[in-house]
């Protein structure tokens, strides 16, 4: 007969090296965010544009059913790449994305700084890179659900409603555009949110900054444009830059008269700066020199 040993017992398992050491951070981060009051309700509000656009696709395919409402000649929209572009870089969707960041992104690093929990992470076999990947993936999860997923669903629905493959023959590259643009948008916003979240231990401050900087950059553009009437100032606005790239991805006429590459380079630069800042700011202990 064997008797269970009293007191501390060793664990007989093997530690594994995960391919993605950060996956637990993502999983628990998402769970914690959904636990927040009102977050679920708020999150579903973000799917409203998707529903509206879906209705639009349906109507465009079943025009005859709606003839009593719209005369064909005055059909207000056509489902083409521009339609998808206006979904993915619409003002409302971008605004709601920022609000998601205020809700779910502000505390990502700020709360860890405030509760001294960075040392818990970094006393584990985690590299800084893994920590950031974990936190980034939380933002990715939420943002892709409101951009990429509805984007692809809309595309599929278009095919289903149409009942033929003409659409995909016309625009075979469209799914790639949807994926590319959604990922780019999300990657930028992830850098943006983490950068601001690491600025302070105070998540209220971060929340104000997240919202403020987005709006501020847009207002700045409006002011400059007001004075100088030069579209190049659109490069100052986060929103304008994103819309510019969106238009380029979907092969639509650019909303601002500036090469879209500039916007692209700017956003990539911002992400680079954010990453450098983050890797300096986030460490096991706060050192006051």
């Amino acid at each position: 007969m064997s008797i269970k040993e009293k007191g501390y017992t060793h664990w007989d398992g093997e530690l594994e090296s995960r391919r993605f050491p950060w996956s637990p951070i993502m999983r628990s981060g998402i769970r914690l965010t959904f636990k927040k009051k009102f977050f679920k309700l708020f999150f579903f509000l973000n799917l409203i544009p998707a529903v509206v656009y879906l209705a639009g696709i349906y109507i465009s395919e079943r025009l005859e059913d709606f003839e009593f409402m719209i005369r064909e000649a005055s059909m207000p929209f056509k489902v083409n790449p521009a339609y998808f572009n206006s979904f993915l870089s619409g003002d409302y969707l971008l605004f709601m994305i920022v609000m998601i960041l205020v809700f779910a992104g502000a505390g990502l690093i700020a709360d860890d700084l405030k509760h001294n929990s960075l040392q818990l992470y970094f006393s584990r076999p985690l590299k800084k890179r893994d920590y950031f990947m974990g936190k980034t993936s939380i933002v990715f999860f939420f943002l892709l659900i409101v951009t990429l997923v509805p984007g692809l669903v809309l595309f599929l629905m278009k095919l289903i409603f149409a009942g033929n493959f003409k659409f995909i023959q016309d625009y075979p590259w469209l799914p790639l555009s949807i994926i590319g643009y959604s990922v780019l948008l999300t990657a930028f916003f992830a850098c943006y949110a983490l950068f601001l979240s690491a600025l302070s231990r105070n998540s209220r401050y971060v929340a104000v900054m997240t919202f403020g900087m987005y709006l501020f950059s847009d207002i700045l553009y409006a002011i400059f444009n007001g004075i100088f009437r030069k579209p190049a100032f659109a490069l100052m606005s986060i929103k304008a830059n994103l819309q510019q790239i969106g238009a380029a991805f979907f092969g639509v006429k650019l909303p601002y008269d500036v090469p879209w590459m500039y916007s692209f380079v700017l956003l990539v630069l911002f992400c680079g700066v954010a990453v450098i800042f983050l890797s300096r700011r986030v460490r096991g202990v706060e050192v006051v020199r």
Partner: protein, 270 residues
């Protein structure tokens, strides 16, 4: 509002003054204040850039006073005043709870109302200074060629007054919100960029339910410039009455804030 109590060893006013001087210092030392200072000075850089472009690059003619009153002021009014008031107003109570420093204040011979009012005064002054520095300097730069014109100065002072009133009133409102709401920032954002932004364009007396309505009523009647859309559908309240309403609102919000702050017990937890 709590009465100045005779039992106090110092008197209400001097308590407020002490609290004020403490937070005025603390507010200046905080790093985030510097960030906000920087942001509020950005219009100044815009102004300087515009002037530079006019003088050196000779690109266009600068309509100094027009740009000042329609662009710079619009920026402050639509954006900065709200952000500053929102952050600093909700900070007044929340930061003491989050930092668990409330204890140091409530175990001093200072009435709670004096704490709140002193801190409100300190933070409001701090953000008024931020705003004023940016506004005045951009005014000077943009109007360097017309500083002898007294009508321009009148415009400057009018705008300064309006912006100050706006800060005073909004900060009081957010102070009140901060005394009882935990997620005050989220609520504040929705209020100031949702409710305020939408309702003020409603026709009739509905628009009188927002603070922005009274502030805009104080602005000079809209010029038909490029930015007049910001003010469209305004059915202004007479300026005199608007000022009174703003001041009354401020007093009411502060009184409510003092009331809540004095009566509510705050339990400090993680």
């Amino acid at each position: 509002m709590a009465q100045p109590e005779n039992t106090s060893s110092m008197g209400f006013v001097s308590s407020v003054k002490n609290v004020f001087s403490f937070y005025f210092l603390l507010g200046r030392k905080a790093r985030r204040t510097k960030v906000f200072y920087f942001i509020s000075l950005i219009p100044l850089m815009i102004a300087a850039f515009a002037k530079f472009a006019e003088l050196v690059l000779q690109t266009h003619h600068l309509e100094g006073i027009y740009i000042f009153s329609n662009i710079i002021v619009a920026f402050y009014l639509q954006f900065l005043v709200l952000i500053l008031a929102l952050f600093f107003g909700t900070s007044i109570c929340s930061e003491e709870l989050e930092g668990k420093t409330l204890t140091y204040l409530t175990t001093r011979p200072v009435p709670k109302a004096a704490l709140l009012l002193g801190k409100y005064a300190a933070y409001t002054l701090l953000i008024i200074l931020m705003m004023a520095a940016g506004v005045i300097l951009s005014f000077l730069i943009l109007n360097a060629d017309g500083l002898t014109d007294p009508s321009r100065w009148r415009i400057l002072f009018r705008y300064l007054g309006v912006l100050t009133l706006g800060l005073v009133c909004y900060t009081a409102f957010f102070t009140f919100i901060g005394t009882f709401l935990k997620r005050s920032i989220l609520f504040g954002l929705i209020f100031s960029f949702g409710w305020e932004n939408v309702i003020q364009y409603f026709p009739g007396s509905t628009q009188r339910f927002v603070i922005a309505h009274y502030i805009k009523s104080l602005l000079p009647s809209p010029t038909t410039g490029r930015f007049s859309f910001l003010l469209f559908q305004l059915e202004p309240t007479p300026p005199g009455r608007a000022v009174v309403v703003l001041l009354v609102l401020t007093a009411v919000f502060l009184a409510l804030a003092c009331l809540v702050f004095s009566k509510k017990e705050y339990i400090l937890e993680d």
